[in-house]
Amino acid sequence: MTKKKITLSLILFSIFTLFFTSCNADASLGLYRQISQSIAPVGIKYKQILGIDGTKLYFSTLKGIEVRDKSTGTNTVLISNTHKDIIQAAHFNTTDTIAYIKNRLPSTNNVYLLNNTVPKTPTDPALTSVKLLNFYPNGLAMIQGINDSKRQFSLVQYDNNAVIATFPDLDGYSLESVIQMTGHDTKAVSIAKPIIVGFVDQSGKYKYYFVDPAVTQLSTTTNIASLKLEDLRIANFYKNNTALLLLTTDGRLFYGNDEDETSFTQLVNASKTYDVNAFAYGVDDGTKVHLITKSKSKIDPIYVLTVDTATPTSASGKSIRAGYAGNLDSVEIVSAYEKALNQLLVATADNGMFSITIEPTKANEDSSDNGSSSGSEQYVF
C-alpha cells in the first residue's frame, strides 16, 4: 500500500513538474498578452501603397485600385477587382495614372493602363520567347526570355522598354525575388535606391544581384565557413554610404561595406522568421544604423536591429512597442511609403494605415520619445 502511494505521488509530482516547466519556447510574446493586445480588422485590406500626387494617395487593396482624397478623407475605387480579373501588381505615375497587371499571367504579357485601352507589352529586344514574370510599384517589369540560346532575365521600363538591368546566362534558374528597400518600393532604381534581385536553381542555391542600376553579383562568402549566402533567402536589405545590411528570412543580419564586399559578416542571428520583402526600414542616426523590422508573426512587436557602423562586428536587437511602434504590435505590414526621411506611411493587411515618424537617435528605445504614430486610418500625407 505504501509502495503504491509512493508510486502515485511520484507520478503526480512528475505530471505537475511537467506542467510547471512546460516552456512557451517559440513565442514572441506571452499567450494571454498576445490575445489581450489583438486588434480587430478595420475593414480595409491594403496590399500596396502606390504613390502620392498632391492631395491624392493611390494604393491597392483587396477591392482593387483606390485613391484617397486628402480634403474629404474618402476613398474611391478606380479599378475594381473582379472574380476573373484580380489586379496582381500596379504602379502609379502622373502620365498613365495607374499601370497594372492582372492575375492571368503568364498567358498574357500585358500591362494595362487606367487612361488608355491599349495595353503596353514590356519587352527586351535582345530576347525571344519573352514572358512577363512580374510588375513592380516603381514601373519596372521583370521579363524572361532567350538570348543566345540561354535563359536571360531583364528588368525593363514598362512604358518605353528601356532596359534597366539584365541577368544573362541563367539556365536552370528561376526568379526568386525582387527586393526593394522598405519605403522605397515606388522609387526609380538609382544609387540611392538600389534593389536586390534573387534567382534560385532547382537545388535551392541562390544567386543575388545588386542593382543600382549597375548590376553586381553579391559574393556568397560569409565570415562563417559553413554558411554561404547562396543557401540563404534574403528577406530585405538596407544600403547607405557606409554599409550594406542583408536580413535573411531566418533572422540573420549580415554586414558588408558595399555590394563589392567579398565576405559578409554575420552580425546576429535574431531567431526570428521574416518573409521575403519583409518590413525592414533603415534609420541612420549618424553613428549607428537601426534596421526597424517586423517579423512574419503578426503579433510579434517591431524589432530593431542596431549596428555600430564604425565597428560592424555585431548587432543588438530590441523589441519596441511604444512611440512609432505603438500601433504596429499586432498587425501584418504589407507596404510602406517614405513620405520624408524617417517619416512613413505604413499599410497593413487588416488594421488600416498609419503614418509614423521616427526619431533617429532613439529609434531603438522602447519609449514614447522614439517617435509617434497616428491611429489606424488617421494617417496624414
Binding site: S28, L31, Q34, K298
Partner: protein, 196 residues
C-alpha cells in the same frame, strides 16, 4: 414579484423533496456529453497588476467561443462521485486568430439534490494544452462548476451547466516572464447524461 418568489419556493421545495431519497449509491455511473460556449471572463497579468475583464478588444481580447467535452464519473458514496473530463475549447481573438485549449482533468462532484433533478457541484483539477498564434504550452487547469440535470426517465438526462475555469500561464523564458498571467473563462453548456 410575490408570484415569482412563490414559484421559486415551489421549485425549491419540489427539488428538496426529490432529493429526500438518494437515487445513487456507491458504484453508480454517469457518462456525459457537453457542448456549449465559453465566455472569456478575465485575464490577470501578475507583473503589471493588470486585470482585464470581459470579451473583446481592449479587454481580454478574446471573443465568446465554443466548448465540447465528454466526462465519466463513478459514485464513491451516495452523494459524491469522482471521475474525469476531457474537452476541446476554442475562442477567436479580436484579430480573428484562433485560441484553443484542450483541458483534461480529474473531477469531484457533490450531488446535494438528486432524482428527477440533479444539481451537481463539481471541482476539477488537471492540465490543459493551450495554443495561440506562435505561443503554445501545457499548463495547469482548475474549475468550479454547477449544473442542473433533468431526468425525464430513468437513465437519460438533459442539463445546463456553468462555472469558472482558471488557466494560468507560467513562462520560464526571461523575456516572457513579464507576461505571466492567469485567465478565467466561464463555460455555459448543455449536457446529455446517461446514468446507471
Amino acid at each position: 414579484m410575490n408570484k415569482r418568489l412563490a414559484l421559486l419556493l415551489i421549485v425549491l421545495m419540489t427539488l428538496t423533496s426529490v432529493s429526500a431519497a438518494p437515487v445513487y449509491d456507491k458504484g453508480s455511473q454517469l457518462l456525459s456529453f457537453k457542448f456549449g460556449t465559453t465566455v472569456p471572463t478575465f485575464t490577470y497579468f501578475f507583473s503589471d497588476n493588470n486585470f482585464v475583464v470581459g470579451p473583446g478588444q481592449g479587454n481580454t481580447g478574446a471573443k465568446v467561443g465554443g466548448y465540447g467535452a465528454i466526462s465519466y464519473q463513478v459514485f464513491n458514496t451516495d452523494k459524491t462521485a469522482v471521475g474525469g473530463e476531457i474537452g476541446y475549447n476554442f475562442n477567436y481573438s479580436a484579430a480573428n486568430i484562433l485560441f484553443t485549449a484542450v483541458p483534461f482533468y480529474a473531477k469531484y462532484s457533490y450531488f446535494p439534490v438528486q432524482g428527477s433533478w440533479d444539481i451537481p457541484l463539481s471541482v476539477g483539477i488537471g492540465g490543459t494544452y493551450i495554443k495561440y498564434n506562435d505561443a503554445a504550452l501545457m499548463t495547469l487547469y482548475t474549475n468550479l462548476e454547477v449544473g442542473v440535470t433533468w431526468y425525464p426517465g430513468t437513465n437519460w438526462g438533459f442539463g445546463l451547466n456553468t462555472g469558472l475555469w482558471l488557466i494560468p500561464e507560467f513562462n520560464y523564458k526571461d523575456d516572457l516572464k513579464q507576461d505571466n498571467a492567469i485567465g478565467g473563462f466561464m463555460p455555459i453548456t448543455l449536457s446529455i447524461t446517461y446514468r446507471q
